[in-house]
Structure formats: C-alpha cells, structure tokens
C-alpha cells in the first residue's frame, strides 16, 4: 500500500522576498527523489517547510499532504507526532546537529519517543538492532558514546539510525553527504539506498551535486532561484532537451577524461624529510611524519587524503605558514628571485575581513606600491580571474562563495606567485562554482605556467585536475604517482579504496 507525501504550491518568503515559489511535487514510499540545485536555490527550505520547522523570520504558504491529510493545518502538538515518527530528517553535519552531552543511545530513545525514566531498558534491544542495521559495530559500545567520540562517517551512520528509529514512512535528507570525503560518501549513499529499498521508505534527497545521486535516485527534480524548473526520471538527465539549469548542473560534473601534462621545468619547491609535531593541538592540525616531495614548474599536484591525514599540515609547511619540526622546505631560486607560494583556503568567507571592502583587503598585497601602480595591478588581477572591477567596492557578505574564491585567487596573483596551493578550495562551493574555479585554476596554469597543489578529499576533483597524485594517510605520504598510473596501478590499500570510490559516485558522462 503506497503512501504519498505531496506538496502543492508551497512557498516560503521572508517579508517581501520570495525564497521558494509555488513548489509542487509528490514523493511516494519506496522511491528516492533527488532535489538538485545550487546553493541559495531554496532547496533546503523545502524540507524545513514540509516539517513545519522554518525559523521564525520566514513564512510559509501552500499545502502539504501526507496521505491526504493536511500537515500544514496541524497544530504544533499534532505535528510533533508526525515529526520523527512518520517523517524524519537527515542533516549535513551530524556532529553539529546532535547534542554533545547526550549518548547515541539517548538520541535514539528520544527519536523513538521513549525518553522517559526507566524506558531505556525496555528498548535496549531495539537500540542495538538499529545500530547494527546501519553498520555500527560493536553496537553496545557505540550506543554509550557521545557524538564527538565518533568519527565523521560513524556519526553520519548514527544519524541514519536515529532517522530510522521510529520506522518512518518518509525521510527528508538535507545534503547528508555534501561534507563527506569520497570514500565515506560512497558508503553512506549505498547504505541509504539499501535501507530505503529494504524498508520501503520514501526519501527526498537534497543536494547540489548531481553526480552523487545519479546511481541511487529514481527521479530528479531541479530547483533554481526558488522555483522548480525541471523534473524527470534519472536516466534522462543527460538528454539535451532538458532545461538550461539542468544542463548547467550536469555539465558541472567533473569528467573522467583529461590529458595530464607531463612535467615541464625543474623543481621549484622541495620538501626534504619535513615533519611536524604539535605540542598543543592548535587548530586541530594533524601531525606529519617526515615527508619528501618535489614540486615542479607548471605541474598540478593533486593531494588527497581524509581529514586528519596530514595533507593540510603539509600544505602549510610548503607555503611557509609554519616551520617543520624536523627536515627542511627548500625554496628554489630562479636567478635571484625566490619561489613565491600563495594559498587559497577552504572557506571563502573566512579569507576576507567581513568589515572591509574587498579593495581594502586586497590592498594588503600592494599597499607598499605607489597608488597608481597598485590600482593597475588590481585591475589586472581582476581581469585575470574574470571578474568585473566594481566587485572590489563590495564587502564579502555581498558576494557569493564562488566570487570570493576568485577574489582570493586574484589577491594571490597580486604577488606574482609561482605556486598556488589550493587547500580544499572548492569544498565549500556547490558543483557549478566548483567547476568554474577548477577550470580557472587550470587556465592560469596553462597561461602563466603556475604550479598548482590541489588538495581535496574529493576524488573527482583530484582526477579532473591533477597531473600527479600524492596520497596522505594517517600523517604519512603513502603514494605518489602520475595520474593514470595511480588510477590503474595504485598500491597502498587506502589508494585502492579511493579509486574504488570513484566508480560508485562515477561522474556523469555527458552524452555528446
């Protein structure tokens, strides 16, 4: 007996501004529907509006029907019965969303509605069964842990267990895999699909990355600027007849094929047995074992590893932001000019002072030059990254993430660097912005002969951009090969896992 979750003319507004406009759709039990759109397209609001959990500043209109029953007309108390029991949610950052002071068991009990005194014992076998179902072993031990004692992947699985706890009919998943590394992403997607099919649950999967859902979704709905602009069965998303926005999302997916360049010029930057230990865990940085590596002119080195693998630490050493505990980082000279290294960080909004106009922030690079020259250099840098000059007068809050990353690149270019280290520079961007930035970086490499160090946990990015691949695992460099060699003949187990993950979240091959 199929159930239906339907929303008709659902709109969300903030004062006068319309954030989501007249959305219509149906979700049936047993099907997984992907809702895809860029950041800010309004797709997240859909889940909150259905659950009646919009923040106070926003107002919703329209109908939400669960098996014909009007949810939008239910009072708070009645809706509390629906939430968690018949419709539950998955979130992007499980650790942020769970209560750090409560055990996993307590979360599960809450979700089952069994959070009173003495009820814990009755439901213990249920708690353990749920944890085992999502692949968390040993269940009894995990149940007693707190969220920050779990790894990212385990936390996400725990969150799935919590969502399944009361045996809901529908699950609304809000970007559940967007912040996971490739291996975890593949695992969680598979798990979700499996559970969904086993239990016959209807899943609404919100994401910005169309490539990640192409193997698990039955249908795809495309949202842009608050409106649903397209929907079709998954297999048809590659067709040329689709809406422009759909095509934009599909095109943003990183293709597997690209001709890697062979190394051109000599070694620019060399790490010789460089290691790093932190006495106090400053910024939660991972330690690095002695590592040796040489970066060449015009080369794109892809650095991949999970969080805590030491890749970021290595990047900071290369950039000179920190000094190695042992070993050296040697900066080679071209004549009497030392190799200059610049860094593009992960969070676009943290790279610029929110109080200052972009122009002021960028002037940090050229403030010692005479005013006219400084202006010229900035204009030139803006042209190089393809941004209009008037953007300089704005403040960071008025720019999008993609624009800010370009501005960060422009600022780096002001110093005439030879090496750009991109530390997860696209991880915080949606798939379309990510593609633009990667293409820009590769273009700069082609035009200006820059060397790039592209650090990412996302194998698709590594495969698209790199000439050579370096794998970091638990503080150590475990593999370093040219790209094609890596894809075909990786030796270390972790490398093999990374390559395997590529097949599961295989990028869309555009049907030309």
């Amino acid at each position: 007996m199929a159930k239906e979750l339907e929303f008709i003319d659902l709109s969300v507004s903030s004062g006068q501004k319309l954030l989501l406009s007249k959305a219509r759709g149906t979700l049936r039990s047993g099907e997984l529907v992907a809702v895809v759109g860029r950041s800010g397209s309004g797709k997240t609001l859909l889940t909150k509006a259905i659950m009646g959990l919009l923040p106070e500043q926003l107002q919703a209109e329209g109908q939400v029907l669960l098996d014909g029953q009007r949810l939008d007309q239910l009072g708070d108390k009645a809706m509390d019965q629906v939430r968690g029991r018949r419709i539950s949610m998955l979130f992007q950052q499980p650790k942020r969303v769970m209560n750090q002071r409560m055990t996993i068991r307590a979360h599960l009990l809450e979700a089952m509605g069994a959070h009173g005194w003495g009820k814990a014992r009755q439901h213990e076998h249920q708690v353990l069964a749920l944890l085992e179902e999502v692949g968390l072993f040993p269940a009894a031990q995990i149940a007693g842990k707190r969220p920050d004692q779990l790894s990212g992947g385990m936390a996400q699985r725990a969150m799935l267990a919590i969502a399944l706890a009361a045996d809901p009919e529908f699950i609304l998943a809000d970007e559940p895999t967007s912040s996971l590394d490739s291996i975890l992403k593949a695992e969680v997607l598979q798990l979700l699909r499996r559970k969904q099919q086993e239990r016959g649950v209807g899943v609404l999967f919100i994401t910005h990355d169309i490539a990640s859902i192409q193997h698990i979704a039955d249908r795809v709905v495309v949202v842009s600027d608050g409106q649903i602009v397209d929907q079709c069965p998954t297999a048809q998303i590659f067709s040329k007849d689709r809406h422009a926005k759909t095509r934009e999302l599909v095109d943003a997916a990183l293709p597997a094929l690209r001709e890697p360049r062979t190394r051109s010029s000599g070694c620019l930057l060399e790490a010789v047995e460089a290691s790093k230990n932190y006495t106090r865990r400053a910024r939660g940085q991972a330690a690095l074992k002695p590592t040796s590596l040489c970066l060449h002119g015009g080369q794109v080195l892809g650095v991949v590893g999970r969080s805590g693998s030491g890749k970021s630490t290595f990047a900071r050493l290369l950039a000179g932001l920190e000094q190695p505990t042992t070993g050296h980082i040697i900066t080679k000279h071209n004549g009497d000019v030392a190799t200059r290294v610049q860094v593009i960080a992960q969070e676009p909004y943290s790279s610029f002072d929110p109080r200052l106009a972009i122009r002021t922030s960028m002037s940090a690079a050229v403030h010692r030059l005479p005013v006219e020259q400084a202006r010229e250099r900035m204009t030139q840098a803006m042209t190089q990254v393809g941004l209009p000059e008037e953007l300089l007068e704005r403040r960071p809050g008025q720019c999008s993430g993609g624009q800010l990353q370009r501005l960060a690149i422009a600022r780096a270019l002001l110093t005439n660097p030879q090496v750009l280290i991109c530390d997860e520079s696209t991880s915080a961007l949606d798939s379309v912005a990510q593609r633009h930035i990667l293409d820009l970086l590769l273009e700069l490499r082609d035009r200006m002969g820059l060397s790039l160090v592209v650090i990412s946990h996302d194998m698709d990015v590594i495969r698209y951009a790199s000439d050579d691949v370096a794998v970091f695992y638990e503080g150590e460099l475990v593999e370093h090969r040219p790209l094609n060699d890596f894809l075909a003949h990786a030796e270390h187990q972790h490398s093999k896992d990374l390559v395997a993950a590529l097949d599961i979240t295989a990028a869309a091959t555009a049907a030309s």
Binding site: Q100, Q342, E347, L356, S361, H367, R368
Partner: protein, 283 residues
C-alpha cells in the same frame, strides 16, 4: 559609513539627555538659582516648591543648586577615572595581544586575579594609605578599573590576529601597521567604546559610594554621594534630599549605559552587559 554609524548613535534620546546634563552641569555657576553653600536655617528641609524647585536640605541650602554644583565633581571624577582606565587598559591589552607568547600568558593571569579582587576593598586600602582627595579617588579606583578594558581589548585583538583573513593579509605581505590599522582597530574600537560607556556608569556609582562613606570628596566640596550621606539622617522628614541626587546618579548612569548598548547594537552585537569579561567554557 562611519558617519552614518556615528549619527545613529549620537542622534538618540540618551545622547541628548546626557548632553543636556553635561551642559547644565558645566554651566552650574551661571544658571543655579542660589549659592549652593548659602545656608538658611529658617528654610530647612522643605519639599519641592516654587521657591526651591527641588526643596532644601538640613541646613536650608537649595537642593537644585547643590545638585548642579555637585555634579561637577561627580561627573568629572568619574570621567577622568574612566578615561584613565580606558587608556591604560587599551594600551596594555594591545601590547599583550601583539606580543603574544609568555608575556601575554602572564598578563592574562594577572588580569584574572585582579578581576577576582573586590574593587572597593582595594580602593579603601589605598585611600587609607594616601588620604582622601580627588586624585586619590581616581587612582584608588583606577588601579583596578583598567582590568576589564584590558581584558576586552586583548581578547578581541587576539581574536582578530588569529583569524584566517589576517593570516591571509600577512601572507600577501601586509605590514604590521596595515593589520593594526585596517583589521584590529576597527574590530576593537566599537566594543571598547561601548564598554567604556558602561564602565562610566558603574564608576559613577562606585565613586559616589566612596563619597557617601566619607572617604571620597572632602568638605567643603560636595558631590552627589556626599549629598546622599548628609540627607540620610533627615530622610524621614524630607526624602527629597535622597531622591534628587539619587535620581541624578541614576539618570546619568542609565543614559550612558543605554548609549553603550546602542553602540553595541549598531555594530551588530547583542548587549553591552554581555561584553564584561568572564571565563568561557569550551565544550
């Protein structure tokens, strides 16, 4: 931008009231209806009437004139103390944050300890040693009063200096002065001013309490605190001796706090009282 912010702060009710109070106090010798020290035992302890707008005290002196004149002392000692602690606190806080390292650590410890000490007890001790007077008041309170300001400045400066965007600026070649001028000072200035406003209000009350206890202002001068002490024995007959100076202290302190709160709101913060130093639990 800065002009707009400034006008939003200054064109407000609390600011106008304060301005009025300041003008009136400065002009006290010109506008007060009577000589504040002129006694007239026949007119003692009157309530407000048409001849004496705020009544008279136990010696027949006009309360309104005394409030106006007393305000000169109260407001000036509070202002000097606030400026003193603002200056010392800001400089020490900035130095500590910029230097970093063990100097910073020591400074923080010293700060923590000073915060735990009761202000008034320290003031009492110092006054005992140095004898009462205007400058003793400033010094005895100022010696501890700079601590919250220094703490705030140091914390905020340290916070800014550890952000990614400052690191980025440094990495592209910004000089120390550039960072101080563009990143640190704009961040720090607003909250420090807001807190200074709050401190002024608290110090006004504290300094008034010293005068009330008799170890602040010395006769023949008087201020709002000493007026309250004088009025207390006769309160049953005429509570106006208490109400007038009390209300004066309250009015100024309240307006200044509201002004500080306004500064905080305009800069996007929540509440000026929230900026007082306290330990934080990192969970």
């Amino acid at each position: 931008m800065a002009k707009k912010t400034a006008s939003r702060i200054l064109l407000s009710a609390p600011a106008f009231i304060l301005l009025a109070v300041v003008i009136v106090t400065i002009a006290a010798p010109l506008i007060s209806p009577y000589d504040p020290d002129a006694q007239s035992l026949a007119d003692r302890l009157q309530g407000p009437n048409l001849v004496h707008l705020l009544g008279t005290d136990a010696l027949g002196r006009d309360t309104l004139s005394r409030v106006l004149h007393g305000g000169q002392f109260s407001l000036s000692v509070a202002l000097i103390t606030t400026l003193f602690s603002l200056l010392v606190g800001t400089i020490l806080g900035l130095l500590s944050a910029l230097r970093g390292g063990w100097l910073d650590e020591i400074f923080l410890r010293v700060n923590d300890l000073l915060l735990a000490l009761p202000e008034i007890v320290i003031a009492l001790l110092i006054i005992a040693v140095m004898g009462p007077g205007f400058f003793t008041m400033v010094l005895s309170v100022g010696v501890v009063a700079w601590t919250p300001t220094a703490r705030l400045v140091r914390s905020m400066a340290a916070q800014v200096l550890s952000t990614h965007h400052v690191e980025a600026s440094k990495h592209v070649g910004a000089s120390r002065w550039f960072i101080l001028r563009h990143h640190v000072l704009p961040f720090v200035a607003g909250p420090v001013l807001a807190q200074a406003a709050l401190r002024f209000g608290l110090l006004l009350v504290l300094l008034g309490s010293l005068s009330y206890l008799g170890i602040g202002v010395q006769p023949p001068q008087s201020d709002w605190g000493s007026m309250l002490a004088e009025a207390q024995p006769h309160a049953i007959r005429s509570p106006w001796g208490l109400i007038a100076p009390g209300a004066a202290i309250f009015l100024v302190s309240f307006c200044v706090t509201l002004l500080g709160n306004r500064i905080t709101h305009v800069l996007g913060g929540d509440d000026v009282l929230d900026s007082e130093p306290k330990a934080e639990i990192h969970g």
